[in-house]
Symmetry: C2
Subunit: 157 residues, 2 copies
DNA sequence: GCACTTTCATTGAATCTTCAAGAAGTGGAC
DNA sequence: GTCCACTTCTTGAAGATTCAATGAAAGTGC
């Protein structure tokens, strides 16, 4: 059993603090300005990047790294807001498509600038270009290690 | 209004993915092995580092970067587990101390190795020493920017 | 002492997440 | 075609978090 070195402990503590504060900060910013938490906002942006602004539930869950259950609940809520609609999947009768509505897209258009500003001022305005690159690389390594990668293993849970 | 560059976007996406997956992973590991989510575990470890294993509520909230409200609810739950006890603060009658019980300490002793292993294998075993240092530095910069620092400004909320 | 402001900590309601269970469809073996 | 294992998505209940409001004590100015 190998413990953490002093340096590792310090980095770990700093990481936990930073992620806690940042999540809190962005959730609050988006709750105030867009009426939803950050994860819900991420669902909308992910959909908006999809070819026809729609995606299978499972794929949306995979791309946003959340469980299907969580996604189901979230979509139910966003559907009530009129920002997402559900459609049957034409090729698989078990499937559902989540569709970004025009109204949902409008919310995104309206709130994206404020959100980008929040992200910028919390992170990118404070980091050097090298650090931005390092953050990306480190994040990719960590994320990679936590994903089954192995294609069709149970991807999460 | 300045948008994010390609590189910034990529780093941001990777960061969100990594933190989502990691939080999920550690919450699950600790829920399974210690019967509590990561944040609750962090409360116990923070207390265990304190001089007499006790701390004022506000200070505990500050050190763990959470709101007092969240802490109140968490301590209520951990009190039910018998892992934390509340004591009146001798010097300030408004105050409460959260005390790590022997039972709570025992849980920590029993589960710390497994948790450290989980953290190691998810992060530190995958990063070079330089990257560990970079992660710490980047995290400190981000955390610093999100804390009022300004001493007695409303520190959070 | 007295009014006023601030701080400490908690509470309840609404919201969000997790977990386990379950309904329905798919696809392969035979 | 039938059986069986697997995938897709949803659901309800339990637990966690947020937000606004509150009571009580401490500090401040006079």
């Amino acid at each position: 059993m190998k413990w953490l070195t002093e340096e590792e402990q310090a980095s770990w503590r700093a990481y936990v603090h930073a992620t806690t504060l940042l999540e809190d900060h962005l959730d609050r910013q988006l709750q105030r300005d867009a009426g939803m938490p950050h994860m819900y906002y991420a669902l909308l942006t992910t959909l908006s990047d999809a070819p026809t602004r729609r995606m299978r539930m499972t794929e949306l869950a995979q791309q946003t790294k959340i469980t299907r259950s969580r996604l189901s609940h979230a979509v139910t809520r966003l559907e009530k807001n009129g920002w997402i609609a559900r459609e049957d999947c034409p090729s698989d009768r078990r499937g559902q498509m989540a569709v970004l509505t025009d109204e949902g897209y409008a919310v995104l258009v309206r709130t994206a600038p404020g959100h980008v500003t929040a992200v910028r001022s919390a992170i990118f305005d404070r980091l050097t270009p090298e650090q931005v690159q390092q953050l990306g690389e480190i994040s990719r390594i960590i994320a990679e290690g936590l994903q089954p990668e192995g294609a069709d293993l149970p991807w999460l849970r």
